[in-house]
Amino acid sequence: MSKPYYDAADLRKFGKITEWSEELGTKFFDYYGKVFEEGALTAREKSLIALAVAHTEQCPYCIDAYTKDSLQRGVTKEEMMEAIHVGAAIKSGATLVHGVQMMNKVNKLDG
């Protein structure tokens, strides 16, 4: 039987990337930890942003991690779904706004 590319248990091993490049791995995790600390934005707001981006990036590990993180911060499922729609709207908007480029090209070539 073939193994899937993604294994949920691999998320727990994320920290091990440091073993093969200690300096860069450590710097990354320090930065990562700092980013999610309470700042001008609350940790709860950051968690929701991360959840939306996890979906636009289609990262299964990130989706698992930030769904759980959101729950831990008392985020409701309605809030989570709305956040994902924000990500989806930007994704589809980003596709559609290129329609202007298509229109420009058509107008130039076939005006």
Partner: protein, 351 residues
């Protein structure tokens, strides 16, 4: 939503030895995760020793008007274990002869014990200054005979600590049963009305938050802010503090973790969040738990697992504070629940 206790249902997990077996085998047996003993030994914190006794937490019975999904007591209307007045008299002797200054009453719904009020009054007479009652709130609205509980609490300056899993109806009712949210809101408003929870009021009203599923509680301070804002905006409710408490993997919560295939991930989360500084202040170091039939335990969780205190003094009838002080606390893997993150106790975070 559950309507019966595991005990009534004849579920294997109603047996404490079955629970300990699960917590001792699997990932802890294979060494995939360290046992709690090994973990605290890494920082030379084994064995955990009891310090001076400060709090007596008395479980006056497992009967409850609710059947919450994650109850570590497996409490419910069908549980018949209730502390008798005779055992309460023995507890009063313990209070008289010990240095404990706080009496923490829990259950079940402690107010359902027919001698609950008598006991509070007698304990006040023998010198207890600080009373804590773990009230589920809905009991105040469950029957006319409980309607005057806010006044009774006020009369004895009882510190009310109430469970409230979320500030929204959906998440609350999912964990605690349909209609629980609306009744809890009404009860909180009634407590506010007699002065409980108001800013600068001596009538303490604290809420307990424990997660509604297989995840750990978030930051206690941030959650408190969110609870306060939402309960004030939506219902004009005030309260003092929020205690964020981690669900321990025993009884109904353990059953839920296993049935939903979350057990291993949850134990990983607990072990990953292990915080050695939380070990210093775990509640078993200054609290003694007394069961409905008068036996002594290191905490309410050990009581449910039927892990008695490691001492010759094991029952209120042969209570001996000197023997109990310095005893080694009885531990198993469920103890990771009290040392995760900022730690967890009946009084909220500990580190």
């Amino acid at each position: 939503m559950a309507t019966k206790s595991l005990k009534k249902l004849g579920n294997d997990l109603a047996q404490s030895n079955k629970q300990i077996e699960i917590l001792s085998n699997g990932i802890f047996k294979t060494g995939e995760l360290p046992t709690f003993k090994d973990k605290i030994s890494e920082t030379s914190q084994f064995p955990i020793k009891a310090k001076k006794l400060e709090i007596l937490q008395i479980n006056v019975g497992y009967m409850c008007n609710q059947v919450c999904d994650h109850c570590h007591v497996d409490a419910g209307p069908d549980r018949k274990e209730i502390m008798t007045r005779d055992t309460m008299r023995q507890c009063l002797e313990v209070i008289k002869n010990s240095g404990a200054h706080t009496l923490d009453l829990t259950g079940g719904a402690p107010e359902m014990n027919p001698d609950f009020r008598w006991f509070v009054e007698e304990a006040a007479k023998v010198g207890i200054k600080d009373f804590i009652v773990r009230s589920n709130l809905t009991i105040i609205r469950a029957n006319k005979k409980y309607y005057d509980l806010p006044d009774f609490f006020k009369k004895h300056n009882v510190h009310v600590v109430s469970s409230m899993p979320h500030w929204t109806r959906g998440k609350t009712d999912k964990q605690r049963g349909d209609g629980v949210f609306d009744k809890s809101i009404k009860a909180l408003q009634e407590l506010n009305a007699v002065g409980y929870g108001m800013p600068d009021s001596d009538l303490r009203l604290d809420l307990v938050y424990n997660p509604s599923g297989a995840f750990l509680p978030g930051d206690q301070e941030a959650m408190e802010k969110d609870f306060k804002k939402a309960l004030m905006e939506d219902f004009g409710i005030e309260f003092h503090n929020l205690f964020a408490i981690t669900n321990l993997p025993i009884a109904r919560f353990l059953d839920y973790l296993i049935a939903s295939e979350n057990y291993e991930d949850y134990m990983y989360s607990l072990v990953e969040a292990y915080n050695p500084s939380a070990v210093e202040n775990v509640m078993c170091t200054n609290t003694l738990s007394i069961s409905w039939d008068g036996y002594l335990f290191d905490c309410d969780f050990n009581q449910m697992l039927e892990l008695p205190v490691n001492s010759k003094s094991r029952h209120v009838s042969d209570f001996n504070e000197e023997l109990l002080e310095g005893r080694n606390i009885v531990i198993s893997q469920h103890c990771y629940g009290c040392t995760a993150g900022a730690g967890s106790s009946c009084q909220g975070i500990v580190a």
